[in-house]
Protein backbone atom coordinates (compact mmCIF):
# COMPACT_ATOMS: atom_id res chain seq x y z
CA UNK A 1 0.00 0.00 0.00
CA UNK A 2 2.78 2.39 1.01
CA UNK A 3 4.70 1.57 -2.17
CA UNK A 4 1.60 2.12 -4.31
CA UNK A 5 1.15 5.59 -2.88
CA UNK A 6 4.78 6.40 -3.51
CA UNK A 7 4.47 5.25 -7.14
CA UNK A 8 1.32 7.31 -7.49
CA UNK A 9 2.97 10.49 -6.25
CA UNK A 10 6.09 9.86 -8.37
CA UNK A 11 3.83 9.38 -11.38
CA UNK A 12 2.16 12.69 -10.72
CA UNK A 13 5.51 14.44 -10.35
CA UNK A 14 6.74 12.95 -13.65
CA UNK A 15 3.54 13.93 -15.43
CA UNK A 16 3.92 17.47 -14.15
CA UNK A 17 7.58 17.57 -15.23
CA UNK A 18 6.65 16.37 -18.72
CA UNK A 19 3.97 19.01 -19.04
CA UNK A 20 6.36 21.73 -17.95
CA UNK A 21 8.31 21.30 -21.16
CA UNK A 22 5.25 21.41 -23.41
CA UNK A 23 5.13 25.15 -23.40
CA UNK A 24 6.31 27.22 -20.51
CA UNK A 25 7.55 30.77 -20.30
CA UNK A 26 10.00 32.59 -18.10
CA UNK A 27 8.78 34.71 -15.20
CA UNK A 28 11.17 37.49 -16.18
CA UNK A 29 9.73 40.69 -17.57
CA UNK A 30 6.23 39.30 -17.49
CA UNK A 31 3.49 41.82 -18.19
CA UNK A 32 0.70 42.62 -15.75
CA UNK A 33 -1.82 40.56 -17.71
CA UNK A 34 0.54 37.60 -17.85
CA UNK A 35 1.36 37.81 -14.15
CA UNK A 36 -2.37 38.05 -13.43
CA UNK A 37 -3.05 34.91 -15.45
CA UNK A 38 -0.11 33.01 -13.95
CA UNK A 39 -0.48 33.89 -10.29
CA UNK A 40 -4.25 33.94 -9.91
CA UNK A 41 -4.97 30.85 -12.03
CA UNK A 42 -2.55 28.87 -9.88
CA UNK A 43 -5.31 28.58 -7.27
CA UNK A 44 -8.62 29.72 -8.74
CA UNK A 45 -10.46 30.93 -11.82
CA UNK A 46 -9.87 34.55 -12.70
CA UNK A 47 -12.77 36.87 -12.17
CA UNK A 48 -13.37 39.57 -14.78
CA UNK A 49 -11.35 42.77 -14.27
CA UNK A 50 -14.66 44.62 -14.67
CA UNK A 51 -16.16 42.90 -11.64
CA UNK A 52 -14.35 45.24 -9.24
CA UNK A 53 -13.79 48.98 -9.23
CA UNK A 54 -10.25 50.38 -8.98
CA UNK A 55 -10.65 50.90 -5.23
CA UNK A 56 -11.93 47.36 -4.76
CA UNK A 57 -9.05 45.91 -6.78
CA UNK A 58 -6.59 47.82 -4.58
CA UNK A 59 -7.99 46.04 -1.53
CA UNK A 60 -8.35 42.64 -3.18
CA UNK A 61 -4.84 42.75 -4.65
CA UNK A 62 -3.26 43.72 -1.34
CA UNK A 63 -5.04 40.72 0.18
CA UNK A 64 -3.68 38.50 -2.56
CA UNK A 65 -0.20 39.98 -2.25
CA UNK A 66 -0.12 38.66 1.31
CA UNK A 67 -1.91 35.36 0.72
CA UNK A 68 -0.15 34.41 -2.52
CA UNK A 69 3.26 35.81 -1.50
CA UNK A 70 3.45 38.21 -4.45
CA UNK A 71 6.42 40.55 -4.61
CA UNK A 72 5.75 44.31 -4.63
CA UNK A 73 6.68 44.41 -8.32
CA UNK A 74 4.24 41.63 -9.24
CA UNK A 75 1.54 43.28 -7.14
CA UNK A 76 1.97 46.63 -8.87
CA UNK A 77 2.06 45.16 -12.39
CA UNK A 78 -1.12 43.13 -11.82
CA UNK A 79 -2.91 46.05 -10.17
CA UNK A 80 -1.98 48.41 -13.00
CA UNK A 81 -3.30 45.89 -15.50
CA UNK A 82 -6.59 45.40 -13.65
CA UNK A 83 -7.10 49.15 -13.26
CA UNK A 84 -6.74 49.68 -16.99
CA UNK A 85 -8.75 46.59 -17.96
CA UNK A 86 -11.75 47.14 -15.71
CA UNK A 87 -13.47 49.82 -17.82
Amino acid sequence: MKRNHLFFLCGLALAAAALIFTGCASTQQASGSKLWAQNCTRCHNNRSPASFSEAQWEVALTHMRIRANLTAEEHKAILDFLKTANN
Binding site: I20, T41, R42, N45, A55, R65, I66, N69, L70
Partner: protein, 434 residues
Protein backbone atom coordinates in the same frame (compact mmCIF):
# COMPACT_ATOMS: atom_id res chain seq x y z
CA UNK B 1 -31.83 144.30 -77.81
CA UNK B 2 -35.26 143.72 -79.13
CA UNK B 3 -38.09 142.31 -76.98
CA UNK B 4 -37.81 139.10 -78.94
CA UNK B 5 -34.02 138.75 -78.16
CA UNK B 6 -34.57 139.61 -74.49
CA UNK B 7 -37.25 136.90 -74.19
CA UNK B 8 -35.01 134.24 -75.79
CA UNK B 9 -32.10 135.11 -73.47
CA UNK B 10 -34.31 134.97 -70.39
CA UNK B 11 -35.69 131.59 -71.52
CA UNK B 12 -32.17 130.24 -72.07
CA UNK B 13 -31.07 131.38 -68.64
CA UNK B 14 -34.15 129.85 -67.08
CA UNK B 15 -33.58 126.54 -68.90
CA UNK B 16 -29.90 126.39 -67.96
CA UNK B 17 -30.76 127.09 -64.33
CA UNK B 18 -33.43 124.44 -64.32
CA UNK B 19 -31.04 122.00 -66.01
CA UNK B 20 -28.40 122.67 -63.46
CA UNK B 21 -30.88 122.04 -60.71
CA UNK B 22 -31.97 118.77 -62.33
CA UNK B 23 -28.38 117.44 -62.80
CA UNK B 24 -27.45 118.52 -59.25
CA UNK B 25 -30.25 116.35 -57.77
CA UNK B 26 -29.53 113.31 -60.00
CA UNK B 27 -25.77 112.91 -59.01
CA UNK B 28 -25.48 110.06 -56.27
CA UNK B 29 -23.93 111.19 -52.94
CA UNK B 30 -22.10 107.80 -52.22
CA UNK B 31 -19.82 108.21 -55.19
CA UNK B 32 -18.28 111.35 -53.87
CA UNK B 33 -16.87 112.22 -50.50
CA UNK B 34 -16.26 115.52 -49.08
CA UNK B 35 -12.82 116.74 -48.06
CA UNK B 36 -13.80 116.39 -44.47
CA UNK B 37 -14.91 112.81 -44.95
CA UNK B 38 -11.73 112.02 -46.86
CA UNK B 39 -9.55 113.31 -44.03
CA UNK B 40 -11.51 111.30 -41.51
CA UNK B 41 -11.05 108.11 -43.51
CA UNK B 42 -7.36 108.78 -43.95
CA UNK B 43 -6.98 109.21 -40.23
CA UNK B 44 -8.80 105.91 -39.58
CA UNK B 45 -6.61 104.10 -42.11
CA UNK B 46 -3.46 105.34 -40.44
CA UNK B 47 -4.76 104.15 -37.08
CA UNK B 48 -5.49 100.67 -38.47
CA UNK B 49 -2.09 100.49 -40.07
CA UNK B 50 -0.48 101.23 -36.71
CA UNK B 51 -2.66 98.59 -35.05
CA UNK B 52 -1.70 95.86 -37.50
CA UNK B 53 1.95 96.77 -37.12
CA UNK B 54 1.61 96.43 -33.35
CA UNK B 55 -0.05 92.96 -33.64
CA UNK B 56 2.66 91.76 -36.00
CA UNK B 57 5.35 92.99 -33.63
CA UNK B 58 3.81 91.10 -30.71
CA UNK B 59 3.18 87.87 -32.61
CA UNK B 60 6.80 87.83 -33.78
CA UNK B 61 7.83 86.78 -30.18
CA UNK B 62 5.81 83.52 -30.24
CA UNK B 63 7.06 80.72 -32.47
CA UNK B 64 4.62 78.17 -33.74
CA UNK B 65 5.53 74.46 -33.25
CA UNK B 66 7.32 73.17 -36.27
CA UNK B 67 8.55 69.75 -37.30
CA UNK B 68 12.19 70.37 -36.56
CA UNK B 69 14.91 68.18 -35.12
CA UNK B 70 15.44 70.42 -32.11
CA UNK B 71 12.34 71.11 -30.04
CA UNK B 72 11.67 74.74 -29.10
CA UNK B 73 13.06 75.67 -25.72
CA UNK B 74 9.73 76.83 -24.37
CA UNK B 75 8.18 73.30 -24.83
CA UNK B 76 8.72 70.26 -22.47
CA UNK B 77 9.39 66.77 -23.80
CA UNK B 78 6.85 63.96 -23.43
CA UNK B 79 9.17 62.10 -21.01
CA UNK B 80 9.46 65.11 -18.72
CA UNK B 81 5.72 65.62 -18.92
CA UNK B 82 5.08 61.96 -18.01
CA UNK B 83 7.49 62.18 -15.09
CA UNK B 84 5.83 65.33 -13.80
CA UNK B 85 2.42 63.72 -14.21
CA UNK B 86 3.59 60.68 -12.25
CA UNK B 87 4.96 62.86 -9.47
CA UNK B 88 1.72 64.79 -9.25
CA UNK B 89 -0.27 61.54 -9.11
CA UNK B 90 1.99 60.11 -6.40
CA UNK B 91 1.77 63.27 -4.36
CA UNK B 92 -1.99 63.25 -4.79
CA UNK B 93 -2.13 59.62 -3.68
CA UNK B 94 0.10 60.29 -0.65
CA UNK B 95 -2.00 63.23 0.37
CA UNK B 96 -5.19 61.21 -0.07
CA UNK B 97 -3.86 58.31 1.98
CA UNK B 98 -2.82 60.59 4.81
CA UNK B 99 -6.41 61.79 5.33
CA UNK B 100 -8.26 60.33 8.27
CA UNK B 101 -11.15 58.08 7.29
CA UNK B 102 -9.98 57.25 3.78
CA UNK B 103 -9.15 53.57 4.38
CA UNK B 104 -10.66 51.11 1.95
CA UNK B 105 -12.82 48.16 2.86
CA UNK B 106 -14.09 45.30 0.74
CA UNK B 107 -16.63 42.64 1.67
CA UNK B 108 -16.03 39.38 -0.17
CA UNK B 109 -16.38 35.73 0.74
CA UNK B 110 -18.18 32.63 -0.37
CA UNK B 111 -21.20 30.48 0.32
CA UNK B 112 -22.33 26.98 -0.53
CA UNK B 113 -25.23 24.55 -0.34
CA UNK B 114 -24.32 20.86 -0.20
CA UNK B 115 -25.94 17.46 -0.33
CA UNK B 116 -24.45 14.14 0.72
CA UNK B 117 -25.93 10.65 0.56
CA UNK B 118 -23.74 7.89 1.98
CA UNK B 119 -24.47 4.19 2.02
CA UNK B 120 -24.24 1.82 5.00
CA UNK B 121 -25.80 4.37 7.31
CA UNK B 122 -26.36 3.08 10.83
CA UNK B 123 -26.16 4.34 14.38
CA UNK B 124 -23.16 2.10 14.97
CA UNK B 125 -21.21 2.96 11.84
CA UNK B 126 -22.39 6.48 11.23
CA UNK B 127 -22.96 7.98 7.82
CA UNK B 128 -24.93 10.94 6.51
CA UNK B 129 -27.77 11.69 4.12
CA UNK B 130 -28.58 15.40 4.29
CA UNK B 131 -28.47 18.88 2.86
CA UNK B 132 -26.23 21.51 4.44
CA UNK B 133 -25.27 25.12 3.86
CA UNK B 134 -22.37 27.36 4.76
CA UNK B 135 -21.64 31.06 4.49
CA UNK B 136 -18.23 32.68 4.94
CA UNK B 137 -18.09 36.48 4.72
CA UNK B 138 -14.60 37.87 4.40
CA UNK B 139 -13.82 41.41 5.55
CA UNK B 140 -10.82 42.98 3.87
CA UNK B 141 -9.66 46.33 5.12
CA UNK B 142 -6.78 48.28 3.61
CA UNK B 143 -5.88 50.76 6.34
CA UNK B 144 -2.96 52.25 4.41
CA UNK B 145 -0.47 51.19 1.75
CA UNK B 146 1.39 49.28 4.47
CA UNK B 147 -1.29 48.01 6.84
CA UNK B 148 -3.99 45.47 6.01
CA UNK B 149 -6.60 43.59 8.01
CA UNK B 150 -8.37 40.36 7.08
CA UNK B 151 -11.26 38.91 9.04
CA UNK B 152 -13.40 35.87 8.23
CA UNK B 153 -16.50 34.49 9.89
CA UNK B 154 -18.07 31.12 9.19
CA UNK B 155 -21.75 30.38 9.61
CA UNK B 156 -22.56 26.70 9.46
CA UNK B 157 -25.67 24.69 10.26
CA UNK B 158 -25.43 21.91 12.81
CA UNK B 159 -28.65 20.22 13.85
CA UNK B 160 -31.05 22.86 15.07
CA UNK B 161 -28.29 25.37 15.68
CA UNK B 162 -26.15 27.71 13.65
CA UNK B 163 -22.47 27.48 14.46
CA UNK B 164 -20.56 30.72 14.15
CA UNK B 165 -16.80 30.36 13.92
CA UNK B 166 -14.21 33.04 13.98
CA UNK B 167 -12.05 31.70 11.17
CA UNK B 168 -9.47 34.44 10.77
CA UNK B 169 -8.63 37.89 12.10
CA UNK B 170 -5.12 39.11 11.47
CA UNK B 171 -3.31 42.34 10.86
CA UNK B 172 -0.52 42.54 8.29
CA UNK B 173 2.26 45.06 7.86
CA UNK B 174 3.98 45.14 4.47
CA UNK B 175 7.49 45.91 5.69
CA UNK B 176 9.15 45.98 2.26
CA UNK B 177 8.92 44.44 -1.21
CA UNK B 178 9.65 40.93 0.06
CA UNK B 179 8.66 40.87 3.75
CA UNK B 180 5.22 41.01 5.36
CA UNK B 181 4.73 40.85 9.12
CA UNK B 182 1.46 39.33 10.24
CA UNK B 183 -0.19 38.64 13.61
CA UNK B 184 -3.51 37.30 14.84
CA UNK B 185 -5.49 34.22 13.86
CA UNK B 186 -4.46 33.20 10.36
CA UNK B 187 -4.64 30.20 8.03
CA UNK B 188 -1.88 27.68 8.69
CA UNK B 189 0.92 28.65 6.27
CA UNK B 190 2.47 25.16 6.27
CA UNK B 191 -0.80 23.64 5.02
CA UNK B 192 -0.97 24.60 1.37
CA UNK B 193 -4.41 23.05 0.82
CA UNK B 194 -5.96 25.11 3.61
CA UNK B 195 -4.25 28.34 2.58
CA UNK B 196 -5.01 28.04 -1.13
CA UNK B 197 -7.80 25.61 -1.97
CA UNK B 198 -10.25 24.96 0.86
CA UNK B 199 -12.74 27.70 -0.11
CA UNK B 200 -15.91 26.15 -1.57
CA UNK B 201 -15.64 27.98 -4.90
CA UNK B 202 -11.93 27.11 -5.26
CA UNK B 203 -12.09 23.47 -4.13
CA UNK B 204 -12.87 21.31 -7.17
CA UNK B 205 -14.91 18.70 -5.28
CA UNK B 206 -17.91 18.99 -2.94
CA UNK B 207 -16.03 17.72 0.12
CA UNK B 208 -12.58 18.25 1.65
CA UNK B 209 -9.70 15.77 1.38
CA UNK B 210 -8.72 13.59 4.32
CA UNK B 211 -5.65 14.31 6.44
CA UNK B 212 -4.99 17.86 5.19
CA UNK B 213 -8.35 19.32 6.25
CA UNK B 214 -9.85 18.62 9.65
CA UNK B 215 -7.19 15.94 10.01
CA UNK B 216 -3.54 15.91 10.89
CA UNK B 217 -2.73 19.63 10.62
CA UNK B 218 -4.44 22.65 12.14
CA UNK B 219 -6.40 24.86 9.72
CA UNK B 220 -5.62 28.05 11.62
CA UNK B 221 -2.99 29.28 14.05
CA UNK B 222 -3.03 31.99 16.70
CA UNK B 223 0.31 33.72 16.59
CA UNK B 224 2.62 35.76 14.39
CA UNK B 225 4.36 35.13 11.09
CA UNK B 226 6.81 36.64 8.64
CA UNK B 227 6.17 35.83 4.99
CA UNK B 228 6.82 36.93 1.44
CA UNK B 229 7.99 36.05 -2.03
CA UNK B 230 11.46 36.55 -3.50
CA UNK B 231 12.38 36.33 -7.20
CA UNK B 232 15.50 34.31 -7.93
CA UNK B 233 16.48 34.89 -11.56
CA UNK B 234 13.81 33.34 -13.73
CA UNK B 235 12.52 31.38 -10.73
CA UNK B 236 10.87 32.41 -7.50
CA UNK B 237 10.49 31.14 -3.97
CA UNK B 238 8.12 32.06 -1.20
CA UNK B 239 8.45 31.56 2.52
CA UNK B 240 6.70 31.88 5.85
CA UNK B 241 8.07 31.51 9.36
CA UNK B 242 5.71 31.49 12.31
CA UNK B 243 5.29 31.03 16.07
CA UNK B 244 1.89 30.20 17.53
CA UNK B 245 -0.01 28.97 20.55
CA UNK B 246 0.30 25.24 21.12
CA UNK B 247 -2.59 22.77 21.25
CA UNK B 248 -3.87 20.37 23.89
CA UNK B 249 -4.14 16.63 23.39
CA UNK B 250 -7.69 15.54 22.74
CA UNK B 251 -9.74 14.46 25.76
CA UNK B 252 -10.53 11.25 23.85
CA UNK B 253 -7.05 10.02 24.77
CA UNK B 254 -6.57 8.67 21.27
CA UNK B 255 -3.45 10.75 20.73
CA UNK B 256 -5.09 13.34 18.45
CA UNK B 257 -4.72 17.05 19.10
CA UNK B 258 -7.53 19.50 19.65
CA UNK B 259 -6.67 22.06 16.97
CA UNK B 260 -9.76 24.12 17.78
CA UNK B 261 -8.54 25.05 21.25
CA UNK B 262 -6.44 28.23 21.30
CA UNK B 263 -6.33 28.76 25.06
CA UNK B 264 -2.72 27.62 25.31
CA UNK B 265 -3.30 26.35 28.85
CA UNK B 266 0.12 24.67 28.89
CA UNK B 267 1.87 27.96 28.04
CA UNK B 268 3.72 26.26 25.19
CA UNK B 269 4.41 27.50 21.71
CA UNK B 270 4.95 25.83 18.39
CA UNK B 271 7.19 27.14 15.64
CA UNK B 272 7.52 26.29 12.01
CA UNK B 273 7.42 27.47 8.45
CA UNK B 274 6.88 26.70 4.81
CA UNK B 275 9.00 27.26 1.76
CA UNK B 276 7.74 27.01 -1.78
CA UNK B 277 9.88 26.94 -4.92
CA UNK B 278 8.60 27.89 -8.38
CA UNK B 279 11.09 26.77 -11.05
CA UNK B 280 8.51 27.97 -13.58
CA UNK B 281 5.36 30.01 -12.92
CA UNK B 282 3.12 27.00 -13.51
CA UNK B 283 4.71 24.75 -10.89
CA UNK B 284 5.20 25.10 -7.16
CA UNK B 285 6.89 22.55 -4.94
CA UNK B 286 6.65 23.15 -1.21
CA UNK B 287 7.71 21.81 2.14
CA UNK B 288 6.45 22.84 5.55
CA UNK B 289 7.12 21.80 9.11
CA UNK B 290 5.92 22.70 12.58
CA UNK B 291 7.25 21.56 15.93
CA UNK B 292 6.68 22.22 19.62
CA UNK B 293 5.45 20.88 22.89
CA UNK B 294 1.74 20.12 23.12
CA UNK B 295 -0.34 20.25 26.28
CA UNK B 296 -1.39 17.10 28.14
CA UNK B 297 -2.49 16.35 31.68
CA UNK B 298 0.38 13.89 32.13
CA UNK B 299 3.07 15.98 30.49
CA UNK B 300 3.97 18.00 27.43
CA UNK B 301 5.18 15.68 24.67
CA UNK B 302 6.89 17.12 21.62
CA UNK B 303 4.94 17.01 18.36
CA UNK B 304 6.34 17.22 14.85
CA UNK B 305 4.23 17.94 11.78
CA UNK B 306 5.49 17.90 8.20
CA UNK B 307 3.94 18.57 4.83
CA UNK B 308 5.11 18.25 1.21
CA UNK B 309 3.03 19.75 -1.57
CA UNK B 310 3.06 20.04 -5.34
CA UNK B 311 0.80 22.28 -7.37
CA UNK B 312 0.84 22.54 -11.15
CA UNK B 313 -1.44 24.42 -13.51
CA UNK B 314 -1.14 24.73 -17.29
CA UNK B 315 -3.54 26.53 -19.59
CA UNK B 316 -2.36 25.95 -23.15
CA UNK B 317 -3.40 25.45 -26.76
CA UNK B 318 -1.51 22.15 -26.83
CA UNK B 319 -3.72 20.80 -24.05
CA UNK B 320 -6.77 22.59 -25.49
CA UNK B 321 -7.70 23.57 -21.97
CA UNK B 322 -6.58 24.08 -18.41
CA UNK B 323 -5.04 21.24 -16.45
CA UNK B 324 -4.55 21.26 -12.69
CA UNK B 325 -2.55 18.86 -10.57
CA UNK B 326 -2.55 19.25 -6.80
CA UNK B 327 -0.99 16.91 -4.29
CA UNK B 328 -0.05 17.12 -0.62
CA UNK B 329 1.19 14.60 1.89
CA UNK B 330 1.34 15.26 5.63
CA UNK B 331 2.96 13.49 8.59
CA UNK B 332 2.10 13.88 12.24
CA UNK B 333 4.02 12.49 15.18
CA UNK B 334 3.47 13.07 18.91
CA UNK B 335 6.21 11.89 21.24
CA UNK B 336 5.91 9.44 24.15
CA UNK B 337 3.02 10.09 26.50
CA UNK B 338 1.04 8.02 29.01
CA UNK B 339 -2.54 8.15 27.71
CA UNK B 340 -5.27 7.35 30.23
CA UNK B 341 -6.83 3.96 29.55
CA UNK B 342 -4.55 3.19 26.58
CA UNK B 343 -1.63 0.86 26.14
CA UNK B 344 1.47 2.70 24.97
CA UNK B 345 1.38 3.23 21.19
CA UNK B 346 3.42 4.86 18.45
CA UNK B 347 1.49 8.06 17.81
CA UNK B 348 2.31 8.58 14.15
CA UNK B 349 -0.15 9.21 11.37
CA UNK B 350 0.09 10.29 7.77
CA UNK B 351 -2.06 10.89 4.77
CA UNK B 352 -2.77 13.23 1.91
CA UNK B 353 -4.38 13.68 -1.44
CA UNK B 354 -3.64 13.90 -5.14
CA UNK B 355 -6.09 15.54 -7.50
CA UNK B 356 -6.32 16.18 -11.22
CA UNK B 357 -8.87 18.31 -13.03
CA UNK B 358 -9.24 19.47 -16.61
CA UNK B 359 -11.22 22.37 -18.04
CA UNK B 360 -11.70 21.91 -21.83
CA UNK B 361 -11.92 25.64 -22.59
CA UNK B 362 -10.19 25.58 -25.99
CA UNK B 363 -12.35 23.11 -27.91
CA UNK B 364 -14.53 25.84 -29.40
CA UNK B 365 -17.65 24.65 -27.62
CA UNK B 366 -19.27 27.04 -25.10
CA UNK B 367 -20.91 24.09 -23.31
CA UNK B 368 -17.72 22.01 -23.06
CA UNK B 369 -15.77 24.99 -21.77
CA UNK B 370 -18.05 25.12 -18.73
CA UNK B 371 -17.47 21.50 -17.76
CA UNK B 372 -14.63 20.23 -15.60
CA UNK B 373 -14.05 16.55 -14.82
CA UNK B 374 -12.14 15.89 -11.58
CA UNK B 375 -10.49 12.90 -9.96
CA UNK B 376 -9.08 12.79 -6.43
CA UNK B 377 -7.41 10.18 -4.31
CA UNK B 378 -7.14 10.90 -0.59
CA UNK B 379 -6.16 8.81 2.38
CA UNK B 380 -5.63 8.93 6.14
CA UNK B 381 -3.48 6.26 7.74
CA UNK B 382 -3.62 5.76 11.50
CA UNK B 383 -3.60 1.99 11.84
CA UNK B 384 -1.00 2.02 14.63
CA UNK B 385 -3.05 4.34 16.85
CA UNK B 386 -6.18 3.67 18.95
CA UNK B 387 -8.27 4.81 15.95
CA UNK B 388 -6.99 1.65 14.21
CA UNK B 389 -8.13 2.58 10.71
CA UNK B 390 -6.66 3.24 7.31
CA UNK B 391 -9.12 5.04 5.07
CA UNK B 392 -8.72 5.64 1.35
CA UNK B 393 -11.17 7.31 -1.00
CA UNK B 394 -11.42 7.65 -4.78
CA UNK B 395 -13.71 10.45 -5.92
CA UNK B 396 -14.90 11.12 -9.47
CA UNK B 397 -16.56 14.45 -10.08
CA UNK B 398 -18.00 16.67 -12.79
CA UNK B 399 -18.34 20.42 -12.38
CA UNK B 400 -20.42 22.89 -14.35
CA UNK B 401 -19.19 26.49 -14.13
CA UNK B 402 -21.88 29.17 -14.42
CA UNK B 403 -19.19 31.82 -14.15
CA UNK B 404 -15.62 32.11 -12.92
CA UNK B 405 -16.76 31.94 -9.29
CA UNK B 406 -19.99 29.97 -9.38
CA UNK B 407 -20.00 26.22 -9.79
CA UNK B 408 -22.30 23.23 -9.49
CA UNK B 409 -20.39 20.08 -8.48
CA UNK B 410 -21.46 16.44 -8.72
CA UNK B 411 -19.32 13.56 -7.48
CA UNK B 412 -19.34 9.92 -6.54
CA UNK B 413 -16.96 8.68 -3.86
CA UNK B 414 -15.62 5.16 -3.29
CA UNK B 415 -14.59 4.77 0.33
CA UNK B 416 -12.36 1.94 1.61
CA UNK B 417 -11.97 1.86 5.34
CA UNK B 418 -9.58 -0.81 6.58
CA UNK B 419 -10.63 -1.27 10.18
CA UNK B 420 -13.96 0.52 9.85
CA UNK B 421 -16.97 0.73 7.55
CA UNK B 422 -16.53 2.43 4.20
CA UNK B 423 -19.29 4.81 3.15
CA UNK B 424 -19.56 5.25 -0.59
CA UNK B 425 -21.35 8.51 -1.29
CA UNK B 426 -23.11 10.75 -3.78
CA UNK B 427 -22.05 14.34 -3.27
CA UNK B 428 -23.35 17.58 -4.67
CA UNK B 429 -22.49 21.19 -3.97
CA UNK B 430 -23.54 24.56 -5.35
CA UNK B 431 -20.87 27.10 -4.46
CA UNK B 432 -20.19 30.72 -5.22
CA UNK B 433 -17.57 33.30 -4.37
CA UNK B 434 -18.24 37.03 -4.32
Amino acid sequence: MTKRQAAITALSLALSGAGGMVFGQAAPNDQFVSKEEYNKLLQRYEQLEKHVAEIMRKSAGVSMPQASATPPTNYVSQAVFDELKKEVEETHSMAKNSFLGTTKMNLTGYGSASFISQNHISQEHGGDRKFNAQFNPLFLWKLSDKVFFEGEMEFELSGANTIVNWEQAHLSYLANDYVTLDAGKFLNPMNSYVERFHMAWVNRLPDQPLAVYDGLLPETLMGAQIRGGVPLGPTKFNYSIFAANSFPLSSDNNGMLDFGNFDNLGQNFIGGGHVGFLPIPQLEIGYGMMMGQVDGDAGNPTALFQSADLNFVQDSEALRGLLRLNAQWVWSHVGGYAYTGQDPFHNSRDGGYAQISYRPNKWGSPFLSKLEPVFRFDTLRQKDTPDNTDESRYTLGMNYWFGPMTVLKFAYQFDHNNGGVGHNAWLMQFATGF
